[in-house]
């Protein structure tokens, strides 16, 4: 490990995701942060590396029936179903609010669709707006059409990227599903189709049962598992994907503390996202920002990029 920083000097926390420079590697993960407004009472949004918005579709989606969540051991299941007001309302309300209140923070819009053309429709609408990058959501387990269906075969995943790539020069991030046999192969296929980065993992498909009622706890029966319970799976997948592609990897899955974030960087993630922890503590993302800088200072890391892929594995 490099011991180049002198005590008292600030570590360089900047990272790059394609053409996008972030002031630090810590993002708020899609679906756990709305568009940031709800968290502005608790944290300074301008201190985040980036905000990844909740999934946005061409028209409004109503989402799934309730109950939509169930707590599980060290985690939770959700089956929200990408409820969102549609891209028009998103521009008028969310992006307008962000432009006024978090102008210094890169905004990455999570793009959702029931078909390839719907992903394209959202991007075309957003091209004239202040958006810094897109995250293609081909991994939501909670919608019947599209969603995860695009993320579970190499061909379908590549096709969505191929459809969107000509529409924008902005960084295209592809959010990958862990509900596959070989996530590295999917990552390679979206990289070949022109993705600038990959983010992973989305939630793991799971289920919870109320034995006394003989009923599933979620109205939709199945949902996506998130939280600390999934961190070992996420680390393994980030490690595998980072070893298989050259584009940057954004790692997430159960990050609660700065040390969790460091683990993802060591496994090869260039940036990380804090997700379910935002529900546990509305200041969680900033605690990770501060903690990561403190960690670098403590261990004499001059630039956070030194940690990326720095896991020491015996040959």
């Amino acid at each position: 490990m490099t011991q180049s920083s002198r005590p008292g000097t600030s570590p360089d926390m900047r990272v790059r995701i394609g053409a996008l420079e972030l002031k630090n590697p810590v993002m708020a993960a899609s679906g756990t942060f709305a568009s940031g407004r709800e968290f502005a009472d608790f944290i300074d949004l301008s201190r985040l590396g980036a905000i990844v918005t909740k999934g946005v579709s061409p028209q409004a989606w109503a989402g799934n029936d309730s109950p939509r969540i169930a707590e599980t051991a060290s985690g939770m299941l959700n089956s929200i179903g990408l409820q969102n007001p549609g891209v028009e309302a998103f521009c008028a309300k969310d992006l307008a609010w962000l432009a006024e209140n978090a102008a210094d923070t890169p905004v990455i819009v999570n793009v959702s669709g029931h078909s390839q053309s719907q992903y394209a429709e959202v991007i075309e609408r957003l091209e004239s707006e202040r958006v810094d990058a897109y995250e293609l959501n081909i991994s939501c387990p909670n919608v019947d059409e599209g969603g995860m269906a695009f993320g579970t075969t190499c061909e379908a995943a590549a096709d969505v990227v191929t459809a969107c790539r000509p529409l924008t020069k902005r960084p295209l991030i592809v959010k990958l599903s862990p509900n596959v046999t070989d996530i590295a192969a999917i990552a390679q296929s979206v990289e070949a189709a022109g993705a600038d980065a990959v983010s992973l993992i989305n939630t793991l498909l799971g289920m919870a049962v109320d034995a006394s009622k003989r009923r599933p706890k979620l109205a939709r029966v199945v949902g996506g598992l998130s939280g600390p319970a999934i961190k070992p799976v996420a680390l393994r997948m980030v490690w595998q994907v980072a070893s298989a592609v050259t584009v940057p990897v954004i790692g997430m899955g159960g990050i609660v503390t700065a040390e969790d974030a460091v683990e993802f960087l060591l496994c090869g993630a260039t940036a990380v996202a804090v997700g379910t922890a935002n529900f546990m503590d509305p200041t969680a993302a900033i605690r990770v920002v501060d903690g990561l800088e403190g960690w670098c200072r403590h261990y004499g890391v001059a630039a956070v990029t030194e940690l990326v892929g720095a896991l020491e594995v015996d040959a």
């Binding site: 709800e38 968290f39 009472d41 608790f42 109950p67 009622k213 109205a219 600390p228 609660v256």
Partner: protein
């Protein structure tokens, strides 16, 4: 109309934690910031453990606030409330996010209110009853419970509202039967300007129907499973005439007229 103060993350100290009815505890928390700004019907999102196995906060309505303290009435229903019941005075391991949500409001010109509680539904109406008394609004309280040992907060309602009528399913306190029989009689003989209710959803629906029949505006406090509690996660949605709203920020108190009751969910377990 209540307008909530800015919520904050606040470390709390347990001052007292006692069993007050069968399966029900009353915990008193030192929470100066929340206590100073909480309005009737609002809630706090309490982290009951630092352990990583239970990751979500638990929403609890604020029963009363006095000086720098808030009181929470809770029913032991699951692992989270079990751990809450074990907290000793002096404990500083918990923090809350709050005050949260849109609480009860007093319609312009209202002078005569009816409060209807079912079981632990007595919890979120405590502060309201006190506020009504302070502003000179005459309130009648109708309380329902399965049995006398599960009737909570009767003393509070007897001290601040004009009259309390009780019904228990087994007749062990008050009249034998459901609180809806009490309210049916009250609606027949008295004129109310507003009805406030919280309790099991089947009871709430019956009260809402009676209020509508009597032509009286009605407010309901709804319980939903929540993750963030601040409007971001969309877990706690309530189907309304204006589409899906969030119980945590648009509620938990709603105008009964806007709630579409056919989209109910199973009662949450804490």
């Amino acid at each position: 109309m209540t307008h909530s103060a800015t919520p904050a993350l606040e470390r709390v100290t347990v001052l007292a934690n006692d069993r007050v009815a069968e399966g029900v505890g009353l915990i008193v928390l030192l929470a100066p910031r929340c206590a100073a700004s909480v309005r009737p019907g609002q809630f706090v999102h309490l982290r009951v453990t630092d352990a990583r196995d239970l990751i979500l906060r638990r929403p609890f309505s604020v029963h009363r606030a006095e000086g720098e303290t808030i009181e929470i009435l809770y029913q032991v229903l699951g692992e989270g409330t079990l751990r809450l019941a074990e907290k000793e005075p002096g404990d500083t391991s918990m923090d809350l996010v709050g005050p949260l949500g849109h609480g009860w409001w007093v319609p312009e010109g209202a002078v005569h209110a009816l409060i209807v509680t079912g079981g632990l539904g007595a919890a979120p109406l405590g502060m309201l009853a006190e506020q009504l008394a302070e502003s000179g609004i005459a309130a009648v309280t109708a309380m329902g419970a399965p049995t006398a040992s599960r009737l909570v907060a009767r003393d509070l309602y007897e001290s601040v509202t004009r009259r309390v009528e009780v019904a228990t399913d087994d007749g062990s306190a008050g009249e034998h039967g459901f609180v809806t029989a009490v309210t049916a009689r009250l609606f027949a003989v008295e004129r109310f300007d507003v009805v406030y209710t919280c309790g099991p959803e089947v009871m709430q629906r019956a009260i809402v129907a009676q209020a509508r029949e009597a032509g009286v505006p009605c407010q309901v406090s709804l319980e939903r499973l929540m993750a963030c509690g601040i409007g971001a996660c969309l877990s706690c949605v309530v189907t309304t005439t204006e589409g899906r709203k969030r119980a945590c920020v648009d509620g938990p108190v709603f105008d009964a007229g806007e709630v579409c009751w056919d989209d109910s969910e199973l009662p949450p377990r804490h």
